[in-house]
Amino acid sequence: MTTTSPITAPDHRRVSKAAVRHEPPRRRRFKPGAGRQHHAGPFAYFALVVVGLGSLFPLYWTLVAASRTQQEVLDTTPPLFPGGNLFNNLEAAWEQASLGKAILNTFIVSSSITLATLFFCTLAGYAFAKMRFKGRNMLMTMVIATLTIPPQLSVVPLFMMMSDIGWGGQLESVIFPTLVSAFGVFFMRQYLIEALPYELIEAGKVDGANNLRVVWSIVLPVARPAMMVLGMLTFVQAWNDFFWPYLALNQQNPTLQVALGQLSASYVPDQSIVMAGALISTLPLLVVFVIFGKQIVGGIMSGAVKG
């Protein structure tokens, strides 16, 4: 696309479509530069294969260990291929760690956090990106600064507060502290700065729309691609969160990660059963990842912030 000169090949279709529908301008950040001029040599592919194997092998080995017996897993020559004990182990893990309840809980927690994050972060991101108000820059700096505060610093009083208001051991204690994320606000702001032209907002206002109306019928449609990405990133993170859920929840009412931690910690654990639990907790996300991997990769590359 970048090599076609505008003189020889004018692309009227694309130009007019973008002008009429107010599509976000195509992002220019991924233009070819740097090493892109050169093709990768055999060494590059070799290195990538090695790193790729290193990335995937632990996941594969989870499957191998989950489908064997404890004895085979801990044998002096560890097995390298899956065996036939998978369903026994899955069943045992299911019974020992109340995984059914854990899956349901994880799903409730992850989806409510994701929905709330999307809603609140899009609103806040829009305000920071396109609205003028007193203290905007200072407040945005504060939002970014909160990224650097580890949760460890507030868990002790948080635990006491939660038990005070009767949320001790309840899912609410995990959901509410993460309803919005600084990363999400930042991510939506960055996207909307580029993707949402002021003219569009003005046009809506001229047509008599109040601010909420503008958000509903102009900002949300424009923000949808970024919301998809933020939604997936948030879901992955909420699904995998460990520290605070492990402190806040208990064996009777765990999320998957908590159940998994307890499965390995509470008694002398059977390693193949623990691995079956790990498989159950990882598999749904891996499926999501295989389907949406491309978007998640793009999202991380455009967000460029660890959440």
Partner: protein
Amino acid sequence: MATTTPTRGVHGSRPSRRAPKPMSPGRQAWRSRLWRFDDKASPYAYIAPFFLVFGAFGLYPLVYTGWIALHRVEMTGLDQMEWVGFGNFSKILQEDEFWTAVSNTFVIGVISTVPQLMVALGLAHLLNYKLRASTFWRTVILTPYATSVASAALVFALVFRADGGLLNWVLGFFGAGETNWVNGHWTSNIAIAVIVIWRWTGYNTLIYLAAMQAVPSDLYEAASLDGASRWQQFRNVTIPALRPTILFTIVISTIGSMQLFGEPLLLEGGANGAQGGTENQYETLSIYLYNYGWNLGHLGPAAAVAWAMLVLLLLIAAINWLIGRFVRKTAA
């Protein structure tokens, strides 16, 4: 459309131009005041949820932690607080375990962050070449990111086992004897660093890749016209252009390594995991906090540990800032 002057705030919906007086002057004034209020208040309403949630579940507890650190509070009676002054602080500062935790957190932080970011930089450079199936490679190296701390720690716990561990089995081919990874101070720290590196290298790679693709290509053309080799281009064009990104990943990784919890907790699991090994050989600050508060049930010292972490974090931030300033000065 772009040329329209912004007339919002003057009651004006389209039909009003044709029908000059749709409503009484009083109503009009009221509506326009409503409009102005809407414009003034909306931004604050939109950002309020973030600050409310952060205030209630982030900032307030953070300050309150300092207050709790000055009291004796037990898990068995959360509403009874007894003033002990700086007793909790002097208690933890006198414990060897605390200093072990500080040094482990530091050591694991360094030996996980440095190789991780260097590998990520190299990988990003490879991925920046014209590649077949580039999206496939990106997805593959990012896959560990989709794995939870718990699953990752548990698989690697098997890999690092002394007897029947995958790693010792592989090393056996090279004539190495059995290493008890978990029992040694350095070896257990390395094991934990490997888990961190595995989970986060792909993530950092993509961040670097994004930054690399934003480097203008004329810089490279100019450099190669000047006869710079590829390595010189990487050193003198890519790295300087990436400096802000690199600084950013260093900061974020440092904060991340302050928080290491799941990896050490589950490396052995059970009672050993909860205190970072039989001799606290891989105990981190988070484990130390957890052990005090949730294992032994003393929340006062746990809160004191949290504040010690805050102080360390500020120290690291100050050092980072100084290094950053030094680097900028020498570059200029």
